[in-house]
């Protein structure tokens, strides 16, 4: 589900639109709030509170009973609901495969392409040290 948290609401919605979805209802209407983000002293020591982030959350239930939860950074309630819907759908025998294949897999590929490009740009700024040799001339 991490893939969905990295996608835009519009991208998830567009891919879901191509599927015939079962009926579902909101268990928790989208709601915005805060999560306190924690770090660790020295990177690996005791935790401390770094600062908060806005988070949106939602929960849905399919007519067939599967319950899905959606959480995402930011204040886009619709995105939280779409993540919750996908979370419920992947648990369903009838829709799990289609959601993985038509929604999550292409978004994962898109995310990986973006990350590969960013990693390549970063790699170009890596320092290659060489040693100046004191020569005769």
């Amino acid at each position: 589900m991490a893939v969905l948290a990295h996608a835009e609401a519009g991208e998830i919605a567009a891919r879901l639109r191509d599927l015939t979805l079962p009926p579902y209802q909101d268990l928790r209407a989208p709601e915005n709030g805060l999560v306190m983000l924690r770090g660790r002293a020295g990177g690996d020591g005791a935790p401390f509170n770094l600062g908060e982030a806005t988070v949106s959350r939602a929960a849905v239930r399919l007519a067939s009973g599967e319950v899905g939860f959606g959480y995402t950074l930011g204040r886009d309630g619709e995105k939280a609901r779409l993540i919750a819907l996908c979370d419920a759908l992947v648990q369903s025998r009838d829709f799990g495969g289609a959601v993985e294949r038509d929604v999550i897999a292409p978004l994962r590929e898109q995310l990986m392409t973006r990350r590969t490009q960013a990693a390549a740009e970063t790699a170009a700024t890596k320092v290659d040290f060489y040693t100046m040799v004191r020569g005769e001339g």
Partner: protein, 367 residues
């Protein structure tokens, strides 16, 4: 003493109207958008998120726009906003060792696993104003190279393997994490509260404090063991779901300072650490934070507390720019009654002074 003052409503209303007009500026100039602020003034957004203590680029951009670019005012707006939102809980501590690094440098080792990665930096620029940026500048596409799959371990983890640096203190089982947004500050304060305070502290204040330690006010012989900037994943144990859910990723800057050693009859000498962590790309902030964090550890490391940067009450009570600006700027609010009483007292004292001088003057004149 504050007293209610009536009147001025119309002046206030019109002043705010004028402010809105001034904020917009000349209307023939296009209005700046939140996307433009977020994309093109990204480091200002990072600072407002760090010191506003709220990770939300869009809100920070809005705050900068509303504050006409006054970053402390923007930080104030963000802090006020966060106070209106419910809190769902706290995230799992982020793993900076697993960061997707966009920049990572060490001044202690040339050859670190994963390498020295400069990333987008002002370092090595000539600080000459660039007239080509004034309008219509289209940058070249970034260069690319094959990324290595090698991990980029924290430099302090490498030093730690040989015991050359003190291990990070671990939390005791079930220990709660101090939160100064929930409980009032008490001294002495533990390191979790100190780090939280520094993380939201004013960059200028921390810079000056950190600089003072380098100039000899609480020396701690620092090396920038590592500075890294990049993306980390955030996870949150959601009560309703009953497991850790991914929230997405955030950008962080981390600084590990490696400082002078400690040792004793029973403990082998080793380097000590100072730590800095902040939202976004905030290098100056995290370096300053790491210097001050190390200075504030004087008490636990058995060092004499002599300099301002080592005094946690001094540092922690003055690092917050929203608190500081509130107290400094309240001086411009009406203090008419206070001032009248001071004025009355001063007049009385001056009269007494004049009366005391008078007999001497008369005596001198008579002689």
């Amino acid at each position: 003493m504050y007293v209610a003052v009536k009147g001025g409503e119309r002046a206030i209303e019109n002043a705010h109207r004028l402010l809105a007009h001034k904020r917009r500026g000349v209307q023939s100039v296009p209005e700046v958008t939140l996307d433009q602020i977020s994309e093109q003034l990204g480091l200002a957004v990072d600072r407002v998120m760090s010191e506003g203590s709220l990770y939300d680029r869009e809100l920070a951009s809005l705050a900068i726009k509303q504050a006409r670019g006054d970053l402390i005012e923007a930080i104030f707006l963000v802090r006020a906003f966060r106070a209106t939102m419910p809190r769902f809980g706290a995230s799992e501590p982020v793993d900076t060792g697993a960061m997707r690094v966009q920049r990572r440098v060490s001044s202690t080792f040339k050859d670190i696993p994963g390498g020295q990665i400069l990333g987008p930096t002002f370092d090595y620029t000539h600080r000459l104003l660039d007239p080509s940026l004034a309008e219509g500048y289209v940058p070249e596409a970034p260069a690319t190279a094959e990324a290595s799959a090698a991990p980029t371990p924290r430099v302090t983890d490498i030093l730690g393997r040989d015991g050359l640096i003190e291990p990070s203190p671990q939390a005791e089982d079930g220990a709660s994490v101090g939160d100064l947004t929930r409980e009032p500050l008490n001294f002495p304060a533990d390191r979790d509260l100190r780090l939280q305070n520094l993380a939201r502290g004013d960059e200028g204040f921390l810079l000056a404090m950190g600089y003072s330690t380098q100039r000899g006010y609480g020396r701690n012989h620092p090396f920038a063991g590592e500075i890294r900037f990049g993306e980390v994943e955030v996870e949150f144990v959601a009560e309703d779901a009953g497991f850790a859910v991914p929230l997405g990723s955030i950008e962080l800057t981390e600084c590990q300072m490696v400082n002078q050693f400690k040792g004793s009859a029973t403990e082998a000498p080793c380097f000590t650490r100072g730590y800095g962590l902040a939202f976004g790309q905030s290098e100056r902030k995290t370096m300053s934070m790491a210097l001050v964090d190390r200075a504030l550890r004087a008490r636990e490391l058995g060092e004499e507390v002599r300099a301002p940067a080592q005094d946690e009450e001094f540092v922690m009570s003055h690092s917050d720019n929203v608190q500081a600006t509130g107290f400094v700027e309240h001086l411009k609010l009406p203090h008419y009654v206070d001032f009248q009483s001071e004025l009355g007292l001063l007049r009385k004292l001056r009269q007494e002074f004049a009366d005391a001088q008078a007999p001497d003057a008369m005596k001198e004149a008579a002689e």
